[in-house]
């Protein structure tokens, strides 16, 4: 991430500059007239590449390579490689560099939480989303209208990233990964206690804990450390790099050790973190009488846990649950809500009942980070199997 910070300022994002389609259109009429009648869809529209701000000529979390992109956070369904200029938090840029290599985009520019960047007539501010390290909501302001693209977010506490900051806005754009009222995430600490109790009851069994490698894994370790668990936590090879990255950003995770080839038999009573896909992999076989644990918001529903053969489901989510989605929408004071992906139908129904204008965007391409975890597992499986 040091390298990302050292990058030259991205030409695409110099303050006050905008060469996009929006500015050309803008020249055609008097700016003041235009801004008076501005609507949300002038600030943000839906294109095949994803959400697009014509006034600033920039995409947000684009699904395919674009000239200029704002990235909310490092999960691979939001942060893709191959864009021209990228504006994101330093942490997100570091995560992207770690995943895709230093040349993941033409030019990268880091932005601090709360710092206002002007792109043509649009003010852009990144604010904490509480989802993973570096995750941000993006506030777009133009013509007195405020639009917030929240990316992925959660409201529950997380020792590895700053908490979500509610922002007053006119239009709130939200995910709905867990947009059904059955998804009420319990206190994550209580779920960690379940794991610790199981370790005490089955000290001869290795506890394989499946977790998404970015965000979830670090949060789990940090929560275990908060609860006084000071033994080494073992890592699947695919987990190591991002753990180091978190530590480099000043988040202590304690004694972490890679599972060495041939050492699996000796890990009785240990916690072993791995990508969810690895739980069913050849890799998982040689641990002593393993307990298969999986930490995810999906574990709230029993059939989902059983489907994966999970024996110790831990309901720990980095996405907002139903109650958090509803209370967040209320807090923003938005009169209009767009739902990007997830269980859109239920949340749109709720908004409508609350008297809010709501529309589902039916955006394909954003997952629940699960796709990401599986992808990582596949590459990990391709490593020497030992």
């Amino acid at each position: 991430m040091r390298k990302a910070r050292e990058k030259k300022p991205a030409p695409g994002f110099r303050q006050g500059e905008s060469e996009g389609l929006g500015s050309r259109r803008l020249k055609e009429r008097a700016a003041s007239d235009y801004l008076r009648f501005m609507q949300a869809r002038d600030i943000l529209s839906l294109t095949p590449a994803g959400l697009y701000c014509p006034l600033a000529d920039v995409h947000i979390d684009p699904l395919r390579p674009v000239p200029r992109a704002l990235i909310t956070h490092g999960h691979s369904d939001h942060a893709r490689a191959g864009h021209g200029a990228v504006l994101a938090t330093a942490e997100t840029l570091a995560i992207m560099a770690a995943r895709y290599g230093e040349s993941f985009c033409g030019s990268a520019q880091a932005v601090r939480y709360g710092e206002r960047v002007t792109l043509g007539p649009v003010g852009v501010t990144f604010l904490p989303a509480g989802h993973v390290l570096g995750s941000a909501q993006i506030l777009l302001e133009a013509g007195g209208l405020r639009v917030v693209v929240s990316g992925d977010y959660k409201r529950a506490g997380d020792p590895t990233c700053p908490p979500f900051e509610p922002v007053r806005c006119d239009v709130f754009i939200t995910e709905a990964t867990f947009g059904l009222p059955v998804f009420r995430h319990p206190d994550a600490g209580g779920e960690i206690d379940k794991l610790l109790r199981s370790l005490a009851l089955f000290p001869e069994r290795a506890h394989l804990l499946g977790a998404y490698p970015l965000g979830k894994a670090q949060r789990l370790v940090a929560l275990m450390r908060q609860r006084g668990y000071d033994r080494p936590v073992y890592l699947h090879g695919a987990m190591e790099r991002l753990m180091q990255l978190y530590e480099a950003f000043g988040i202590p995770l304690g004694d972490l050790r890679r599972v060495e080839p041939g050492s699996r038999e000796s890990l009785a009573g240990a916690v072993v973190l791995c990508p969810p896909g690895a739980l069913q992999d050849l890799w998982a076989r040689r641990f002593p009488d393993p307990v298969t644990a999986f930490a995810s918001g999906w574990m709230r529903v029993r059939a989902r846990a059983r489907q994966r053969g999970v024996e110790l489901p831990l309901v720990v989510s980095d996405h907002a649950g139903w109650d958090e989605l509803c209370s967040t929408i209320r807090e923003t004071g938005a009169s209009e809500v767009w739902v990007t992906h997830g269980a859109e139908e239920a949340l749109v129904h709720w908004c409508t009942r609350e008297g809010l204008a709501a529309r589902p965007l039916h955006m394909l391409g954003y997952g629940d980070d699960e796709a990401e975890a599986e992808a990582v597992a596949e590459t990990a499986g391709a490593e020497p199997a030992a």
């Binding site: 069913q280 992999d281 393993p290 529903v301 053969g309 269980a343 129904h349």
Partner: protein, 562 residues
């Protein structure tokens, strides 16, 4: 209740028997009376709540949630209790029920038994308000009687027995004299009180079980030390008839696991009640007899599958006991006696019985193992007569064997029929459970039949055991390499005439099935051998199985199902 709910939650996901035991032991150890006793009752199926029906639960949630959101949620979760448990809105801070203490399991048991039906919705709502998601799930599963956590009553009793380091059979023997919350039982197991003497009339006595005969051991056994009898293909049962202190007659029928199944067989009970010559416990096989002939297990199953016991059902499928052993008579425990002595007492008893519901399972005479092997191969000619089809094999019992509950070594053996074998082609594979969840260990296989476009494979069964760990690895490798299609956890593997894998499948018999596309289901199929050498084209045809169907069932299957 939350503590118990957490146990249920953990048990529901834990596939390993030993781990389930450990979880329960830990719970019984750390939970006070009477909570653990009611938990034991719940785990052994000893609690039933008449008033609480799914309709009540639906009505409660309908008052509290938006119908559209409920429908979307139910659709996603797929289980009513679970949907309600997860959706139930938390009471508003400051409102009624906010931060109320969660009910204990004993509160729930007492509350449900003492509350009038009209008061029940209010009571339920207060409990649901006070519990967390897992607690609500457990409560709703418990009261609607749909708790499925993969724990048998026997396993729960085994966990309790471990508390006092006693044999589970010791708990089993006391069981029917005890009632929830079992405080005297826990007191005894923890060494705080004497063994609670069984108060029950007609108690269950855990049965003695046999070992499969392994051919090597066989050669070391002396035929003169053993009696042989037929192993009937029915349901092992214990029939107890006793008199209470005030002279009332009591009859109980128990399954092999100690489940009281008396209510399912009023015909048999009525007959036994009238048998004044009989006071004691018979170990035998439950069979259906028609016109003096033992019917197949398929026929017996038709009676067992029915919930309502109608006079018509009893007439059509008359229940019968074929007696193997006598465990007690006239208050005397016969179990320490040698088999031949018990057998003499049994023969004398059956001879005194009136009626036709109980008869004696005959001994099979033999002088050498060869002679017994002949009898086993042709039971019809060795004394089983018209009942030969219901013979599953032979039992060998040491003449001097006492009746020892459980599966003691070296006393009783079962020598079953050689299984049927068929060469089938592997078609689909699915991941296993628990420690096998990383392997493709459940195999669906098929046989050839002629279809509209020439020969085609039709699935005939599924097997998930019979192979060694080494073979499992090879099979798993084959599946991963030869996958042609994926459907969720299931992989379709290549199965053409030229390419694919032939499995030699062993099984005990066949029956008609509407569930299977082939119209035939195998009993107890398992992988006998992997035929890496055999091309799929040379595997067996469906007709091979159809020929094994009992005569009456053959025609319909041949007519063909698609």
């Amino acid at each position: 209740m939350n503590h118990f709910a957490e146990l249920l939650d953990r048990l529901a996901f834990e596939p390993r028997r030993n781990a389930k035991l450990r979880l329960m032991e830990d719970f019984f150890h750390t939970t006070p009376d009477p909570e653990r006793g009611y938990a034991l009752a719940a785990l052994t199926g000893g609690l039933s709540f008449r008033n609480a029906k799914p309709g009540l639960v639906r009505a409660l949630i309908a008052e509290r949630t938006d119908p559209v959101l409920f429908a979307l949620s139910y659709d996603y979760v797929g289980d009513l209790s679970e949907t309600v448990a997860l959706m139930w809105p938390a009471p508003a801070p400051g409102g009624a029920g906010h931060n109320a203490a969660p009910p204990r399991l004993s509160d729930v048991v007492e509350g449900l038994s003492q509350t009038a039906k009209t008061e029940l919705p209010g009571l339920m709502a207060r409990w649901l308000d006070a519990l967390d998601e897992t607690g609500r799930w457990a409560l709703l599963k418990l009261i609607t009687g749909s708790l499925r956590i993969g724990v048998s009553a026997r396993l729960a009793k085994t966990a309790v027995a471990a508390l006092g380091g006693v044999d589970p059979n010791a708990v089993e023997e006391l069981w029917h004299g005890l009632s929830p919350p079992y405080e005297p039982l826990f007191a005894w197991l923890e060494g705080r009180a004497e063994r609670p003497e069984s108060l029950v009339v007609a108690p269950f006595r855990p049965p003695m079980l046999s070992h499969p005969l392994d051919e090597e051991e066989f050669s070391r056994l002396d035929p003169a030390d053993f009696c042989a009898e037929w192993k009937w293909d029915g349901i092992r049962i214990q029939a107890v008839r006793e008199l209470t202190a005030d002279g009332r007659r009591v009859v109980r029928l128990y399954s092999r696991t100690g489940e009281d199944i008396t209510a399912s067989f009023p015909d048999l009970c009525e007959d036994l009640l009238a048998q004044e010559a009989f006071v004691g416990t018979i170990d035998g096989e439950l069979l259906v007899l028609r016109a003096g002939r033992v019917e197949s297990f398929n026929v017996l199953q038709q009676r067992l599958n029915r919930k309502a016991i109608t006079p018509r059902l009893m007439q059509e499928f008359p229940a019968h006991i074929r007696a193997y052993d006598l465990l007690a008579e006239g208050g005397e425990d016969l179990r320490p006696l040698p088999f031949v002595e018990r057998r003499r007492r049994l023969e004398a008893l059956v001879a005194r019985l009136a009626g036709r519901r109980v008869d004696l399972s005959p001994l099979v005479p033999f002088a050498s193992w060869e002679e017994l092997a002949m009898a086993r191969a042709r039971p019809g000619e060795a004394g089983a007569g018209i009942d030969a089809e219901a013979v599953e094999g032979v039992m060998l019992k040491r003449r001097d064997s006492p009746y020892v509950p459980g599966r003691p070594k070296g006393l009783w053996y079962k020598w079953k029929h050689d299984p049927h074998l068929v060469d089938a082609v592997l078609m689909y594979a699915q991941r296993g459970h628990g420690r096998r969840s990383s392997y493709y260990s459940d195999y669906t296989f098929g046989l050839w039949r002629s279809g509209p476009e020439g020969d085609e494979l039709v699935p005939v069964g599924k097997a998930y055991f019979g192979f060694t760990d080494e073979e499992l690895k090879e099979l798993d490798r084959f599946v991963r390499r030869e996958t042609v299609n994926r459907f969720g956890p299931v992989r379709e593997v290549i199965h053409t005439g030229e390419r694919g894998l032939v499995l030699e499948v062993a099984f005990e018999g066949v029956q008609q099935s509407t569930r299977h596309k082939s119209g035939i289901a195998m009993r107890f199929p398992r992988i006998n051998r992997i035929r890496w050498d055999k091309p799929p084209r040379e595997a067996d045809r469906l007709d091979t199985l159809a020929r094994l169907l009992p005569r009456g069932e053959r025609a319909t299957t041949k007519a063909g199902k698609t």
